[in-house]
Symmetry: C2
Subunit: 699 residues, 2 copies
């Protein structure tokens, strides 16, 4: 591809996407779906691929899959606890272990011995052990005639209680998960690991080769991998399940499976809800993202150490910006919305025609009513409860401490969900994290977000004036960050142990601010929960019930950052009349660099430049497949029929960004690192044969 | 300065600024003011500096000063028509003369002979010849009892007529300028030059050394200069007035003057108007700027040619973003607003106390009423009339053609101001410009702005649907840009000559869109003119009259991109307890580069690296002064008491950004290139002794 020809993929791709959206209603025969492991797509797999996974096959994959609670997926890949994920998932840990002199995100890391493996600061991994349907118990807690506030309270109580009972009984992390937007409640039990040590990461130059310009693009040339090792009781874990390495890796047209944790989709939303996303949620979110991207970029440009401090956050904003822009482009495409409208009309007609589904008739209007209520508090909810007004880690620590004191003084059923008993350990893992906090960056971020608060809530708003304490955003941010002691973890622990009285008597300025803010903000949250969240759950539960009745239950819920099974084929596609191959090669990375003048972010790391001759250049580096994935799937293992690892998901292409709302396999593709290139790079470039041997089972 | 210590100037600086804002009412004794050349600050100069400029002195400076209509200032600096401005002002011309193989912005330019001087594509320079007060005539056209719409029409008619009469009589460009927000109307007559040839520009690396991070910062090390030569009848102009080069250049503490074209200030605004800027105008503008900055940055990052195409626009957005953020920080500072409130209360009290000023009593409320009307159409006005929905040069050409046909069919007094007879030549200079237009960049920009239209005006809005023609933004942008022939200047001329019938029968898709849009949009514009612009002018005229009565007429109007005289002293300042020197040296640039790892934008050009030894490193490179300047002053000559050129303005520091609203000389500083470094660099680094000799009068 000539570097000087600007690429206009988005519009062209959308032209193409539109051609195939006639079937957005119901399930297409394509490789659609982010399936529950307790409700796999047996029928689809049998009919299209003649494949019938055994329960053992499914259990093995499920228990080899790992969730990174920092936001991503991974898998066990050796008998001694080695976990593989993406570099950009591991980056959270890499960043927190870095110093001004040693930027691990940039230069990478390699532990030559077990002793050199470094414990991550606050990483928690989860492995899904089992799933229990608790829908009836959750819904039974909500009595007929309860108003939404009472229903919300009852539902929260029973969820907190179920989780606590499960945790007490099993010792496992226990989460009651909402599926089908409220149509089902499942109890997910996880084995939790917090002693996770960094083993290997390549340089960012090759992990994220092509940078933001190449992100969500294909052809691609990224070694986006990172290895950790899980320890238990100070010893490497010997997991019951781990994935075996495929000898050949992914092959064109073969059936592959992805086990990972897609973060969020909105395919089952009503059209009004999609319009709400299009008109309100996405534009506002994108404005905030762009604002912070520019803020962090200008901060970073001032010097190399600044750039190091902000890089992980900056990547996050850039990545989300590109992803959400792709989603918004889908929502702003009349042909997609028209297809959605058509499907909704048809479903509603079927509901109207069936007297047994009478209950569901008003559900769509109930969704709309809840959205109207949301619109009224949208800005306050975003600013205060979601924290857009306080873009500061120190503030969020302060608020967590204030709420922790308030909530733990209450009985478990009455607590805010995130302070329920069963989850407190995980919460404290974050609260007492030794991850570095940079006062200068905190001031920059807080200054900007307090300015945003003035813009959005009004500079003359008494609550805003109280928060600003009659200062400018810059003055106030400086007072707060310079004055607080919350950067000190011991101080945090002391406050947490002191409970309510310690918080109330604290004169720490950030704690004081969090106290001032929390009262009014809890009201906003309560409104959100009572008038929006609960009515939406109830309405969507009716829609789901009707949908099951009409379309059957052989389906999958929207993504919720819980474990899902996707499947598809390794398959190239056509774009602008050009055939794009199912895979790229390691050799192609050198050409790609040269085509872009070898300037960052198109510059290969020195090791790659030096050792080019050692590589089998025809080794596949990245490949594309039709599997149905979305953000959160990063790091998901890709396996073949034999359950052998053939690759690791790290991205989707631009056309895949509409998968938030509708599946298409015409040009939407998941992008993976090919297993062969991982072993090749470890052996030939990184002199890391020990790890390679561990992967392929030679030691 | 250590590069690894992040700098938190903005907040600290605002802390300092706040200390000295007790005197924002009336004129401080400090070096305040962007004075009219026909009403210079004689009293202030006499009292503070014992200096009494003669009429000849003033006339010489006025007629040596040059306005760059691309947005900036400059001056004649030789007897053979050499004009000096900033590199970042000349960049518009440099960009338009560049090709993929020869990026003049980046690599610079040097014409070794007159023959090598290259004509700019569409640059127009203006020299102010004389000023005539036409306030009475303009106001007399507005009869008592006229409603605002009629008043607006009458005022427009008389302004168009005055300009036409003046143009017919003198052949000079004639602009009726609104001063004091409507308190005065002056006729400015300019000599206009359109044969302007590029003579010399340094590399961007040194012209904009430090890039966006160093923009609006000090200490600074930029050779932000560019030379053009004005031709008339194919021969270099021998201007009657040009500035002589000072031998010593600017010296610490000496009195200096700046003659330039500050773009816009809002110091005389009512508090309600400042709040409107704070709450509505600035936040919305900044969102748009950040949006476009991110858009162009991602476009640029795809390849070097993309970066070249977008660089001038990208710089513009980054520059404006930083400037407006500084302004907004001032508006969001309670101490600044409180000082403004205090001053307004005191002025209004004086008005109330004086029966002769009865007329003015309601003026403040009238301003507020007009702003309330503005709020109602703000979004439509921004989207359609100001073109935020159509970020495309091709669209703006289309609209200009559509309106040109409509307007020139009307009698001159009835035309929209920008299509009045006297200004048509200048308008056509832009309309028929051969400046390159890049279809790929056009599609990217138009896609984004059509998406913005959907967000702001509503995706289901019938007018929006009509504009989008039932396509997605990306599809529509692609159709329009690929389908239009307006990139061809001959086609534009043909349409312009064909008048209304040519426009109406054209099937060019961009012309069709401009036709569809123009009807509804003219209504928005009319509302703006009748309900906002005219009432504001009338109300502010009353405020101005009252202010003159109470505070005297020895004052200056807000900036309007017309020629002004500022003055001050060459003077360092203190920041974060650190003394900043009045000037930096050429040698300092090498240290500054090294302190930042010599990576872009802190990398000196190869020539500077190579010829360091030849330089007198102690030569002053940049200096700061207390002169009252703002955006638009870029390129303004700085002269001493003898009228000799001692420097050229290119920036203000961060604290100067509140000068939009209030003057302070405590830490706010104008930043200039020192005259000595210009000659030194020309001789020692660029082997351009001919130009240096021409400047110092040796040839």
């Amino acid at each position: 591809m000539a570097p000087l020809i600007p690429r206009q993929k988005p519009w062209l791709v959308l032209l193409l996407v539109c051609l195939l959206l006639s079937n957005v209603a119901g399930l297409a025969s394509a490789d659609e779906g982010m399936w529950l492991f307790n409700q796999p797509p047996r029928k689809q797999l049998r009919e299209k691929y003649g494949f019938d996974p055994s329960d053992r096959w499914l259990e093995h994959l499920q228990k080899s899959a790992v969730r990174f609670n920092s936001g991503g997926s991974g898998s066990f890949v050796s008998s001694t606890g080695l976990v593989m994920t993406n570099h950009h998932v591991g980056a959270d840990c890499l960043q927190k272990l870095s110093t001004p002199d040693k930027d691990l995100v940039k230069i990478g890391f390699f532990a030559h011995t077990r002793d050199e493996e470094v414990k991550c600061v606050d990483l928690e991994l989860n492995v899904l052990v089992n799933i229990e349907d608790v829908t009836e118990r959750v819904n039974a807690a909500v009595k007929p005639g309860m108003d939404p506030a009472a229903a919300q309270q009852a539902r929260r109580a029973v969820r907190n209680t179920i989780e606590k009972e499960s945790f007490d009984k099993t010792g496992l992390r226990s989460d009651v998960v909402t599926l089908f937007q409220g149509g089902r409640y499942n109890l997910y039990r996880y084995k939790k690991y917090t002693d996770v040590r960094l083993v290997f990461a390549p340089e960012k130059e090759i992990a994220f080769f092509g940078g933001d310009p190449d992100n969500f693009e294909y052809p691609r040339y990224d070694l986006d991998i990172c290895f950790f090792r899980v320890y238990e009781n100070g010893q490497p874990l010997q997991p019951e399940h781990y994935l075996h390495w495929s000898k050949a890796g992914a092959i064109e047209d073969e059936l592959i499976f992805v086990a990972g944790h897609p973060g969020r989709t909105d395919r089952l939303n009503t059209v009004a809800h999609l319009e709400f996303l299009r008109d309100r949620v996405f534009p506002q979110l994108l404005n905030t993202i762009r604002r912070r991207e520019v803020l962090l970029k200008t901060y970073s440009d001032r010097g190399l150490e600044n750039a190091r401090r902000a890089q992980d956050d900056l990547f996050g904003y850039q990545n989300t910006r590109k992803a959400r822009l792709g989603g918004l482009a889908g929502l702003q495409d009349p042909s997609i919305m028209e297809a959605k409208r058509k499907a909704e009309r048809s479903l509603r007609q079927a509901v109207t025609n069936d007297p047994k589904l009478r209950d569901a008739r008003d559900a769509w209007d109930e969704v709309s009513a809840a959205l109207a209520a949301w619109a009224q508090i949208y800005t306050d909810h975003e600013l205060y409860e979601r924290g857009a007004a306080f873009n500061s880690e120190l503030f969020h620590i302060a608020r967590m401490l204030v709420r922790l004191a308030d909530e733990t003084a209450k009985p478990n059923p009455d607590r805010l969900r995130e302070y329920a008993e069963a989850g407190l350990d995980s919460l404290k893992q974050q609260l007492f994290s030794e991850a570095p906090i940079f006062p200068d960056l905190e001031i920059v971020k807080l200054t900007d977000s307090l300015g945003y608060l003035m813009e959005r809530a009004g500079a003359e708003n008494p609550f805003v004036i109280q928060i600003l304490a009659n200062s400018s955003p810059a003055q106030r941010a400086s007072q707060l960050v310079s004055g607080t002691r919350l950067a000190d973890v011991a101080f945090r622990k002391q406050l947490a142990e002191g409970g309510k009285s310690a918080i109330e008597s604290s004169d720490d300025p950030m704690i004081s601010l969090a106290r001032v803010v929390d009262g009014p903000v809890r009201k906003v949250r309560k409104t959100y929960e009572d008038k929006i969240e609960e009515p939406l759950r109830q309405a969507y539960a009716k829609v789901a019930k009707a949908r099951f009745a009409i379309e059957g239950e052989n389906t999958y819920p929207d993504a919720t950052f819980t474990l899902r099974l996707a499947y598809g084929q390794v398959k190239g596609y056509e774009e602008q009349g050009q055939k794009l191959p199912p895979w790229t090669t390691m050799g192609g990375s050198y050409k790609h660099a040269a085509d872009h003048g070898s300037v960052p972010p198109f510059e290969l790391p020195p090791r790659w430049q030096k050792d080019k001759d050692k590589l089998a250049l025809e080794t596949p580096l990245n490949f594309v497949s039709t599997a149905d994935i979305i953000g959160g799937n990063s790091g998901s293992p890709v396996v073949n029929r034999n359950g052998e690892l053939v690759g690791i998901i790290f991205d989707g292409n631009l056309p895949s960004l509409v998968l938030d709302f509708v599946y298409t396999d015409h040009v939407a593709r998941a992008i993976s690192v090919h297993s062969s290139s991982i072993v090749e790079a470890l052996r030939k470039i990184y002199s890391a044969s020990d790890i390679a041997d561990e992967l392929v089972g030679m030691n």
